[in-house]
């Protein structure tokens, strides 16, 4: 009797111990790098699908064939920041569309993005129209310079719309809108939408339109400088890299790559500084519609302790500086080009969810 009780007691203890050891191991082995993002914009997806179908309905069969692709086609990764004439884009060119078709295309962009995001896209496109009028900036290509795809062309007409997959409230599909200094990739999977990878850039970085000074990436610049200057000297020493960063590290063509994070971990920032960093990140995340952006911000916030902020260059606003925010589910880079403050490239990626990878292949 005693032996039996002893055996049961021993067995129970051993089982508890084994489960205690096994459980975390099993959980650890099954846990993906980042969990599936929460469902978000139940109300937004039908609106975006409606806008996509309205755009497609405005096109002839031949036009539709030109701008629709399979969801898994190579078109998905075939985007660039380069202007027409250097990079050959597929899809419907705005300059070839009727005013009604063009409105439908832009209405689709507006439906997928937030109000601020759509404004940013408009500001970048208007900037390219300014570039066209001035024949190109100090750095970058010159209007009409000979390229493999003909002469380099700038301007609002040189932006392209492509749809990958069929617009659907359940099946994955994608909106690709871009041109010089702009690549917007929105993957829609059911109620969720994902903006990564996307590339908002600007040249000129400041211009005047209808008497108003426009800085398409002005907030990204100013908020970055505000953050680095909100750090104390010890924190700055951690955040500021002791080397020059001359370009985006993970620009176009670098899908799926994760570099070793550098700079200061956000766990070493106080709550005000953390809020400032989230506000900087929101400049990219918030291009997407509010509901999807809020879900993404919550995910970035949850990973904040494992997120890094790195800076290279001057800390004086108005001078050259590069910065990077890198966490488990986000990479943002801000990089002036070739010493030109009037020519800014940025990139926004999620190494775990570019093109909605986590949603499409959970």
């Amino acid at each position: 009797m005693f032996r039996t009780r002893f055996a049961f007691a021993w067995t129970g203890l051993a089982a508890v111990l084994a489960v205690a050891v096994l459980l975390p191991t099993v959980i650890h082995s099954q846990q993906p790098a980042a969990s599936r993002p929460p469902d978000t914009s139940a109300a937004v997806t039908p609106k975006v699908v409606g806008a996509a179908n309205a755009f497609l309905a405005s096109l002839s069969a031949a036009e539709r064939a030109k701008c629709t692709f399979g969801f898994n086609s190579s078109q998905r990764t075939g985007w660039s920041n380069l202007p027409t004439g250097i990079f050959k884009r597929n899809g419907a060119r705005l300059g070839d569309l009727t005013p009604q078709q063009r409105s439908a295309a832009l209405a689709l962009v507006a439906a997928a993005l937030s109000r601020e995001g759509y404004q940013k896209v408009t500001d970048i496109m208007n900037g390219d129209e300014v570039l066209k009028g001035t024949g190109g900036g100090r750095t970058g290509g010159k209007q009409d310079a000979r390229g493999p795809g003909g002469g380099i062309r700038f301007g609002r007409d040189e932006y392209y719309m492509a749809l990958l997959g069929n617009p659907s409230t359940t099946e994955p599909w994608m909106i690709q809108f871009g041109g010089h200094h702009l690549a917007i990739n929105v993957t829609v999977v059911g109620a969720n939408s994902v903006l990564t990878p996307s590339l908002p850039a600007a040249q000129p970085a400041r211009y005047v339109l209808n008497g108003q000074t426009i800085r398409p990436l002005g907030r990204e610049n100013d908020k970055g400088f505000a953050l680095i200057n909100a750090l104390n000297s010890r924190q700055q020493k951690r955040a500021i890299l002791n080397y020059a960063v001359n370009d985006l590290v993970l620009g176009p063509g670098n899908d799926g790559k994760v570099i070793q994070p550098e700079g200061i971990p956000c766990s070493e920032l106080d709550s005000r500084q953390q809020s400032m960093l989230l506000d900087v990140a929101h400049e990219w995340v918030g291009i997407l519609n509010d509901e999807a952006a809020n879900a993404k911000m919550a995910e970035i916030k949850a990973n904040l302790a494992k997120t890094y902020f790195a800076w290279s260059g001057s800390t004086k606003n108005g001078e050259l500086a590069y910065y990077r925010i890198q966490g488990p589910t986000v990479v943002i880079e801000y990089a002036p080009q070739q010493g030109d403050l009037d020519h800014i490239h940025t990139i926004y990626r999620d190494p775990t969810n570019d093109y909605g990878a986590r949603l499409v292949h959970p």
Binding site: R3, T4, A7, F8, W10, T11, A14, A15, L17, A18, V19, V21, L22, T25, V26, H28, S29, S74, T77, G78, W79, S80, N81, L82, I86, F87, T139, G140, G141, A145, R146, G147, P148, I152, L241, N242, Y243, A244, V245, N246, D247, L248, V249, G251, P252, G253, N254, K257, V258, I259, Q260, E262, Q337, Q338, H343, H345
Partner: protein
């Protein structure tokens, strides 16, 4: 691998790599040289993207097109790629790790003239298998320093038992030193504990069943 086979592989992979979209801005008088290192137990893979600026395109063409016929032959491409790699010094734990060309792709020269054409070199340094513990990699690129601007980064390894430390670089990013550790810490230990726990669980269940059987018989 025979010379002919090597060239065939070289050409095939070059063609495959050719689809890669050009990156970055339209450069002017800079020669951007961006390197990414991938550390494994017994090798270091390097991808080096070379983007000549528009203003120095002809100069770079002259470096590659050594016979001056205005086109880049496979032999010229390979010779330039190997020349570039001779400017790269890689050491692991202080010992030289020779870097060998695996593949390369060269852009249309019209792209290079616009400052957007990118040469991509893929290379590998095979190293003695790194044992558990601390290791150091040092990388230095001295290719064309008169016009070169440099980026060098380490990719997070696929193998979770390799943990990278913080890279250290010179200001121009021509060189980088990277500490890393190889350990059972990440991959081996949980597996060992899991097997041990599983053995305890199975043993306990067998013991319980053996003990429980006569007890149930008595109760009946």
């Amino acid at each position: 691998m025979s010379e002919r086979k090597w060239i065939a592989t070289f050409a095939a992979v070059s063609g495959w790599l050719g689809w890669a979209p050009s990156a970055g801005a339209h450069r002017l008088d800079e020669y951007l040289q961006a390197t990414r290192l991938s550390v494994s137990i017994d090798r270091v893979d390097l991808v080096i993207d070379l983007t000549p600026g528009a203003a120095i395109a002809n100069k770079v063409l002259a470096w590659i097109d050594t016979n001056g016929d205005g086109r880049i032959s496979d032999a010229e491409a390979r010779a330039y790629a190997e020349e570039m790699l001779r400017s790269v010094t890689l050491k692991v734990d202080g010992l030289p790790a020779p870097v060998e060309l695996v593949a390369s792709s060269f852009p249309e020269w019209s792209d290079v003239r616009l400052g957007v054409g990118m040469i991509r070199l893929q290379a590998v340094a095979k190293i003695p298998p790194a044992g558990a513990g601390h290791h150091v990699i040092s990388f230095l690129n001295t290719h064309r320093p008169e016009s070169g601007v440099y980026l060098v980064n380490a990719l997070v390894p696929d193998n979770p038992s390799i943990q990278l430390g913080q890279p250290r670089r010179d200001y121009a990013q021509r060189g980088m030193t990277l500490d890393y550790t190889v350990g059972g810490a990440v991959s081996d230990v949980p597996r060992t504990w899991a097997l041990l726990a599983l053995a305890i669980l199975v043993g306990s269940l067998r013991l319980a069943l053996r003990r429980r059987a006569p007890l149930l018989t008595v109760n009946e």
